[in-house]
């Protein structure tokens, strides 16, 4: 093996030798050569001095040298390969500014180059990160004790000032504002202690604080405007405390990260030195890349490929139940028929969630009979999905629609896993209670415009609660639509029951977990009795990786893999 490999390298090196010597000075190539030398030793100046050198030296000597270094670099590169992770995910951050867009891609990125004050564990508990501990001072104040001796990648020390700065900036972000409006102010107690005050009592303050990824105040200040279009300093430059630092980014193509050599968490078992993230949107390309060994870790895997992936030796598949609820809205403003609770109930009964999950999603989802997943306080154990065609037909007859009617339906075809097929199955199921469905599926870009315009009687949507709490789902999906407060912004059922709104409001202030849980369950029960929407299922998250990449320990149900702690076995 080795002699052959060397021969190949020699031939290749010869090709290199014959090509213009400028190749040698491709910085990315130098980076391979110096893989074993600490990164800070070869900054831009080093590369520049090399370039200068090339001008002075005679070309032929350079070529010989290039040839030798090329061969040498390959040997070094082989050694460094073990701690390299290449991954392909479907999302990527639109910007380096963590506050520009609240999206999965941005938050995944934030967990790489920044650290949150605290983060969720896989079991739904909080884990201290940059905050070492926290306590409630009173109903409207929480105190956070911060970690000392942490530095940003720029070299600036981390302190409470950075936290206060970051929270103020979050309050300015159009995307994060909805969550951070609740925080009225912060008080610096000392360099490593900060009090966070809320306008009203807020039981979810601690959940919201998982979105605080302290930014380097000294680095960003003065050039930190949050702009959605056009380039800003923050969208191009980044300084965080995280386990990785960004070394190269080709927007839309790939990002390269290096392990932060001064990372504060010395207990982290993570051993990934170089991390390359490529967004790959097509399911088949992503899977092919894993199967061919071009990448080590992918997300997600389409349900039809799961079985195949599992059967391949050397690969592992990890699935986790997720709290994102997929549901279907039934618009009561567009259709008088849907104002009748019996009709809504009949539709709920005619749709067989279990069959959809089993046949279309191959079992990789949890059929839903309510909106709150089992890790949320609003979850009611005895609300299971119901399927009863006879009863559904009966209800339709009682409501006077035994001959059925037509409904228009829209669904996305590239947003959720197998969304188009699920929508087709629903249309077929409704045909059995004589509801003729005119289904139109659209790419997500067009679909959500149609969704905002409430363009169809039945519309599918998925919702992930940002706060990991039921109330966020209720606020956006079933509260009475109100343009001023933003409540019910995604309520395409146009369902409106003032008592539910009142419960939502009270649950937002309730500090006692037991009473809060009761109130949320009361909402869930009312929604069920009213058949306000059709809950469908909670989709599982599916990751696949090579066996030596221990992803099981670092993935979680929010899909923010903690790559800083990832171990690759050697």
């Amino acid at each position: 093996m080795l002699p052959n490999g060397l021969l190949a390298e020699a031939v290749c090196g010869l090709g290199f030798f014959l090509s213009p010597s400028s190749h040698f000075f491709n910085p990315s190539y130098l980076h391979v050569f110096f893989a074993k030398i600490p990164f800070h030793l070869y900054g831009q100046d080093y590369i520049r001095s090399f370039k200068h050198y090339s001008v002075i030296k005679r070309r032929s000597i350079m070529k010989v040298r290039a040839f030798f270094i090329y061969c040498l670099s390959f040997l070094i590169y082989q050694g460094a390969d073990a701690a390299t992770l290449k991954m392909a995910f479907d999302a990527d951050p639109v910007s380096l500014d963590p506050h520009e867009q609240l999206s999965e891609g941005t938050l995944q990125f934030s967990h790489l180059v920044f650290d949150p004050l605290l983060r969720w564990t896989k079991t739904g508990k909080f884990e201290a990160r940059l905050a070492e501990s926290w306590e409630r001072i009173d109903d409207r104040t929480m105190r956070f004790h911060l970690r000392e001796g942490v530095h940003f990648i720029s070299g600036n020390p981390f302190s409470a000032k950075d936290v206060a700065y970051t929270i103020q900036r979050l309050k300015r972000s159009p995307d994060f504002r909805a969550m951070f409006d609740t925080i009225s102010s912060t008080t610096l107690i000392d360099d490593y202690t900060i009090d966070v005050h809320t306008t009203y009592t807020n039981p979810l303050l601690i959940n919201i604080m998982t979105y605080v990824f302290p930014m380097d105040k000294v680095f960003y200040q003065g050039q930190d405007q949050i702009v959605k279009y056009g380039s800003t300093f923050a969208s191009r430059h980044v300084s965080g405390t995280g386990p990785f630092k960004l070394t190269h980014r080709e927007l839309g193509s790939y990002m390269v990260f290096e392990r932060n050599p001064n990372y504060w968490d010395t207990n982290s078992p993570g051993n990934v030195k170089t991390l390359t993230i490529t967004p790959v949107r097509a399911d088949s390309t992503r899977l092919a890349a894993l199967l061919s060994g071009d990448v080590d870790f992918i997300f997600p895997i389409s349900p039809i490929d799961i079985q195949r992936t599992q059967s391949i030796p050397g690969l592992q598949l990890v699935t986790l139940a997720n709290s994102r609820i997929l549901l279907m809205h039934m618009n009561q403003q567009r259709r008088a028929e849907l104002q009748d609770v019996r009709v809504r109930k009949a539709i709920n009964l005619a749709i067989n969630q279990r069959l959809i999950v089993e046949k279309i999603l191959k079992g990789y989802a949890m059929p839903a009979g309510q909106l709150s997943s089992d890790r949320f306080l609003g979850h009611i154990n005895d609300l299971a999905p119901e399927y009863n065609l006879i009863k559904a037909k009966q209800l339709m007859a009682e409501a006077g629609y035994q001959d059925g009617f037509r409904l228009s339906m829209m669904a996305p075809n590239n947003r959720y896993m197998s969304d188009e097929k699920v929508a087709q199955a629903i249309a077929a199921m409704l045909a059995r209670i004589k509801i003729t469905v005119d289904l139109k599926t659209l790419p997500k870009a067009q679909y959500f415009k149609a969704f905002d315009d409430r363009s169809a009687d039945l519309m599918m949507v998925g919702w992930q609660s940002d706060t990991m709490d039921s109330n966020n789902i209720y606020e956006f999906l079933v509260a009475c639509p109100d343009a001023d407060t933003g409540l019910g912004a995604y309520n395409a059922s146009e369902y409106c029951r003032p008592s539910v709104d009142e419960d939502i409001r009270l649950a937002n202030r309730e500090m006692n977990p037991e009473r809060r849980s009761q109130r949320l369950q009361q909402i869930e029960r009312t929604l069920y009795n009213d058949a306000a929407v059709v809950p469908l299922y909670w989709q599982y998250l599916t990751w696949a990786a090579k066996e030596k990449v221990n992803i099981r320990a670092i993935v979680n149900d929010q899909n923010y893999p903690y790559l800083g702690d990832l171990v690759i076995e050697e």
Binding site: C12, G15, F16, S19, P20, S22, H23, F25, N26, S28, Y29, V94, Q101, L102, S103, P174, D175, F176, R177, A178, M179, K228, Y229, G230, S231, S235, E250, L251, G252, S253, Y254, T278, V280, R281, A282, S284, T285, A288, A289, L291, S292, G293, D294, N414, P443, K444, A445, Q446, Y447, F448, K449, D452, W463, D466, F476, A483, G486, A489, Y490
Partner: protein
């Protein structure tokens, strides 16, 4: 010649204006860019503000006018996603697409010409029949099936070539990030260029064969035979040269097909070129980038077709450009 070029220029301007109107008119149908740029929980006020700032609340005519004014000065708008002038983004992806197209065309020329000629010389030979059979399959099988098959065989089963991406690039004189000059880049080129070539090859094999067979029947070839010229000279110099005329025309038209196929190939192989950029822009509702891409591709079409007409004149002096082009 000059009048021909002037006329062509005028025509090109007209075509570009039509393309710009169409590409601008379809933007509305792509979706709402603001939704793509904002999180789900952003308030409607913030959405309205952004919409206003992007000028999306203006009427079609005033939006188009703004676009047209910029376009004349070479500014095709700023990409929402890349946050850079759309034209710069597209031009930065151009080398990748050109390299892919170049390799595919090279493969087509190297394979299709001898195959077509052989099939024409010995039309009854078993190999020729096989060639025709394979090429008709090639014509009817969609490119993505070919591409997926190639990925399966060469990268998953045998691990010969990588399944996606462009690999390492080297900097050529500071102008061009090229994948042709290093091993990794070349390995990444194999599958995309092969599948693109397979998509284009059959039509050329068949065309060369048909034209060649016709030419071989003509008087001057019979005369050449009777004059005692060598077979190689007759086939590859006298006959092939005259075969090339229609092939150049079709080749020009195929340049359009090539663009269409690069979109498909680049999407399947995640090749970071213009086609992939375009598909990405459509899914992100990056409307300035979509419009700019259509303008650039329209421009490429106009230029290649003009060039084809010029080459036509060079290869066959009896064609008079002034009367040939519109």
């Amino acid at each position: 010649m000059l009048t021909f070029l002037l006329r062509r220029l005028l025509q090109a301007c007209f075509v570009m204006i039509i393309i710009s109107v169409i590409s601008f008119a379809i933007q509305d149908k792509l979706g709402d860019p603001v939704q793509q740029m904002m999180g789900m929980t952003a308030s409607s006020d913030d959405r309205q503000q952004l919409r206003e700032a992007l000028g999306l609340n203006d009427g079609f005519v005033s939006q188009y006018w703004r676009f047209a004014k910029g376009a004349i000065q070479g500014d095709l708008g700023t990409s929402y996603y890349f946050k850079e002038p759309a034209l710069d983004v597209i031009l930065s992806k151009l080398p990748a697409t050109l390299e892919l197209a170049f390799c595919a065309i090279l493969l087509v020329i190297l394979v299709a010409t001898p195959c077509g000629v052989l099939a024409a010389i010995n039309p009854k030979h078993i190999l020729s029949r096989l060639l025709m059979f394979v090429s008709s399959i090639g014509l009817s099988v969609p490119i993505f099936i070919v591409a997926i098959l190639l990925v399966y065989v060469f990268s998953i089963e045998h691990n010969v070539a990588p399944s996606f991406g462009r690999g390492d690039t080297t900097d050529v004189f500071g102008l061009w990030q090229s994948g042709i000059f290093n091993k990794d880049g070349l390995r990444h080129l194999i599958l995309p260029s092969l599948s693109l070539a397979i998509a284009l090859m059959p039509i050329f094999v068949r065309l060369i064969r048909a034209e060649m067979m016709e030419v071989l029947q003509s008087e001057y070839i019979r005369f050449a035979w009777s004059k005692g010229l060598s077979a190689r000279r007759i086939y590859f110099v006298h006959a092939l040269k005259n075969t090339m005329l229609p092939i150049i025309t079709v080749g020009g038209i195929q340049a359009g097909t090539l663009v269409a196929y690069t979109i498909l190939t680049e999407t399947i192989f995640q090749w970071p070129g213009m086609g992939y950029l375009f598909m990405d822009a459509v899914s992100r509702v990056d409307t300035p980038l979509v419009a700019a891409y259509l303008m650039v591709v329209g421009g490429i079409f106009v230029v290649t077709n003009t060039l084809v007409d010029l080459i036509y004149g060079l290869v066959n002096p009896t064609v008079r450009l002034a009367s040939h082009g519109l």
